[in-house]
């Protein structure tokens, strides 16, 4: 069962037929995430979109939620086979450093914690090549996944911290996390 929004705004559940897999996508109303939701649905997944922005009338079953709200996340993640966590402020947004950190790190830790509690096995997390910092200060190229991560912004630093915590959760609780260090998305 995947959580969904009932007409009265409360979180309910949306049945999906086994063996079709249910995926929750956070940040589902962002430009990238709309493509991800559409692509996953085209691939046969039952997808529940979660975003801080209220869903349109056509986005039946999607949920408005700040993922720093762990209690509601718990209802929504229960029964999902995987989570795609792309919900965060973008790098060029004008939020304060404190808001950026709270959004990325605290929101991300909530997602990790609820993944563990609800028994979801697989999590995909959007990170950033901004975790590598200033490319021109690298001592060797190309930049691989093993290159030094020396972020030069709160955005990059927050993504790097979330990666570290995700790796710890994998060790502690046996979950699987794939982190995607993406460049600018167009």
């Amino acid at each position: 069962m995947l959580g969904s929004t009932k007409p009265d705004g409360s979180v309910g559940s949306l049945a999906y037929n086994s063996p079709v897999k249910g995926i929750v996508v956070t940040g589902s109303k962002g430009g990238t995430d709309r493509s991800i939701v559409a692509g996953l649905r085209a691939g046969g997944y039952v997808v529940l979109g979660v975003d801080v922005v209220t869903p349109d009338a056509a986005e039946v079953g999607d949920v408005q939620l700040d993922f720093r709200d762990a209690l509601r996340l718990n209802d929504i993640f229960a029964g999902a086979s995987g989570i795609v966590h792309f919900g965060s402020y973008p790098t060029d947004s004008s939020y304060s450093a404190t808001d950026m950190f709270h959004n990325i790190v605290l929101g991300g830790v909530n997602v990790l914690q609820v993944v563990v509690i609800t028994g979801v096995k697989r999590l995909v997390v959007a990170s950033s090549i901004m975790t590598y910092g200033d490319l021109t200060r690298q001592i060797s190229l190309p930049i691989t996944e093993d290159s030094a991560q020396v972020p030069v912004s709160v955005y990059g630093s927050s993504k790097q911290i979330l990666e570290h915590v995700a790796a710890d959760y994998c060790r502690w609780d046996g979950i699987s996390v794939a982190v995607m260090r993406m460049s600018r998305i167009v």
Binding site: K21, I23, G31, T32, R34, S35, I36, A38, G39, L40, G43, Y45, S81, G82, V84, R122, V124, S127, I129, Y132, L135, T136, Q138, I139, S140, L141, P142, I143, T144, E145, E163, A166, A167, C170, R171, G174, S176, V177, A178, V179, M180, R181, M182, S183, R184, I185, V186
Partner: protein
């Protein structure tokens, strides 16, 4: 459009060496990832191969970053110095979209 300003030449070029990735290509990888990820923690770089400028990467690096002498693999003239081969090897993923096509579509749409 975002891609438009990244195709400008000059000093802006260095900041875009990190390249870009197209949202639809991200969606393609996300279809494969939930099923394919191995146990534990894995990180993947995820960028399109081609940089979105018309200047050679080697020329840019030589001019702006002469201190970087340890370049392990010779780059294609317009390929990003961020290596996404792990994602391609692991998931069989490849980019299906190209910035020049996106730019051309955009330019057509605003005419």
């Amino acid at each position: 459009m975002e891609i438009e300003k990244h195709t400008e030449s000059g000093c802006l070029a260095l900041s875009v060496l990190r390249s870009y990735v197209v949202a639809l290509d991200v969606a393609g990888a996300c279809q494969a990832l939930p099923e394919s990820v191995s146990d534990g923690f894995e990180a993947f770089n995820f960028v399109a191969k081609k940089i979105c400028i018309d200047i050679s990467v080697a020329d840019l690096l030589q001019y702006y970053c002469p201190q970087i002498t340890n370049i392990l693999n010779p780059h294609g003239t317009h390929q990003t110095p961020v290596d996404s081969s792990k994602l391609r090897r692991g998931l069989g993923w490849k980019a299906h979209y190209d910035w020049k096509e996106l730019r051309n579509e955009y330019q057509k749409s605003v005419k």
